[in-house]
């Protein structure tokens, strides 16, 4: 199977370029990550991240034939050849398919991704009704792979200021949590021309989320809540 892989070595003076690989796949090789491992056997200078190899850790997010996806759960069957593998768009490239995610995780930390509740804790745990728990479905499953943010034009334009779809989905996860007591502060933080309102509902985020989540819907919920609070 033929591949074109984005190569960049920061230690050399060469400009980034795509390199062609012809890979002899083994019968058990089904996913793009399997092919990347075969390429690595041919050329051990290739760098890419991977860990769980089953769509849980989010390490191997990359652009596969123009679409962001996780290499470990993307089937090789059906991919147009040559399969073009590139780093996540909009992220600074460290080497080959490895991108710098520091800004992405800075935004994640800024939205305070944890429950804030200063009330005295109950003896066992803070309980939720089934309905309250239901509101977290479609939010808590995010694995922070950055497929969504890396496919969002608004994030490409202002990655340092716009929180991005992943960060905003995570923000909504805690805003929607009945056990959290910092909703007003969370909404006040997001009520900003850059942090939230750079989103144009392009919906690329929802289109590419490998977990089938909808950051666009989460962002709309945040906007609606801000509107309700101000009216």
């Amino acid at each position: 199977m033929r591949f074109k892989v984005y190569r960049f070595d920061p230690e050399s003076r060469a400009k980034p370029a795509f390199r062609d690989y012809d890979v002899r796949l083994q019968p058990a090789d089904r996913k793009v990550l399997d092919a990347l491992v075969r390429i690595k056997e041919q050329d051990d200078s290739l760098s890419f991240r991977r860990s769980c190899r089953e769509g849980v850790c989010g390490s191997d997010a990359m652009n596969i034939n123009g679409r962001n996806a996780l290499a470990c759960i993307t089937d090789l069957a059906g991919l147009r050849e040559p399969v073009v593998l590139a780093p996540l768009p909009g992220f600074p490239v460290i080497r080959d398919l490895v991108v710098d995610m520091s800004t992405f995780f800075r935004h994640y930390h800024e939205i305070r991704p944890y429950l804030v509740n200063d009330e005295p804790p109950p003896e066992r745990e803070r309980l939720q009704s089934p309905e309250e728990r239901e509101r977290l479905n479609g939010l808590y499953e995010c694995i922070l792979c950055a497929c969504c943010s890396g496919f969002c034009p608004s994030y490409w334009w202002n990655p340092d200021k716009f929180v991005g779809p992943a960060g905003l989905l995570q923000a909504e996860r805690f805003i929607a949590d009945s056990r959290d007591r910092a909703t007003a502060g969370r909404l006040a933080f997001l009520d900003d021309v850059y942090r939230l309102y750079r989103c144009r509902t392009i919906m690329n985020c929802t289109e590419v989320c490998p977990k089938g989540l909808s950051p666009a819907r989460a962002i709309e919920h945040i906007k609606v809540q801000l509107l309700r609070r101000s009216s």
Partner: protein, 111 residues
């Protein structure tokens, strides 16, 4: 609603879009089902208080919608502060001029 929160522009863009949509639907229905209007007929309608008010509302919605759109494009693409301020200033001046020009035409027709 914070002055620089972003929500004001978000709401304004949607409200003005609704006004523009209503006008577009009205204009399409008029063109499809109404009898053709001569220039004189159009001028006479624009000179009535109701006609002038409707045109003024359309112009205001259009200019405000355009302002939010231009502002968003500049905020997205133009990062140097000086250039950004210059472009926003030029856009605001241009849109303001168009608004005043529309008002002048409507007032001169009404007199």
């Amino acid at each position: 609603m914070r002055i620089f929160g972003g929500q004001r522009a978000f709401v304004l863009q949607r409200l003005t879009a609704l006004v523009l949509l209503a006008y577009a639907a009205g204009a399409a229905a008029r063109l499809a089902f109404g009898a053709p209007v001569s220039l004189e007929g159009w001028r006479a309608w624009a000179a009535t208080p109701a006609g002038a008010a409707l045109i003024a509302l359309l112009a205001a919605a259009l200019l405000l919608h355009a302002w939010v759109g231009v502002r968003d494009v500049v905020l997205d693409y133009v990062h140097p502060l000086g250039l950004r301020l210059a472009l926003l200033g030029a856009a605001a001046a241009g849109l303001l001029f168009l608004g005043l020009w529309t008002a002048l035409i409507l007032v001169s027709h009404a007199l």
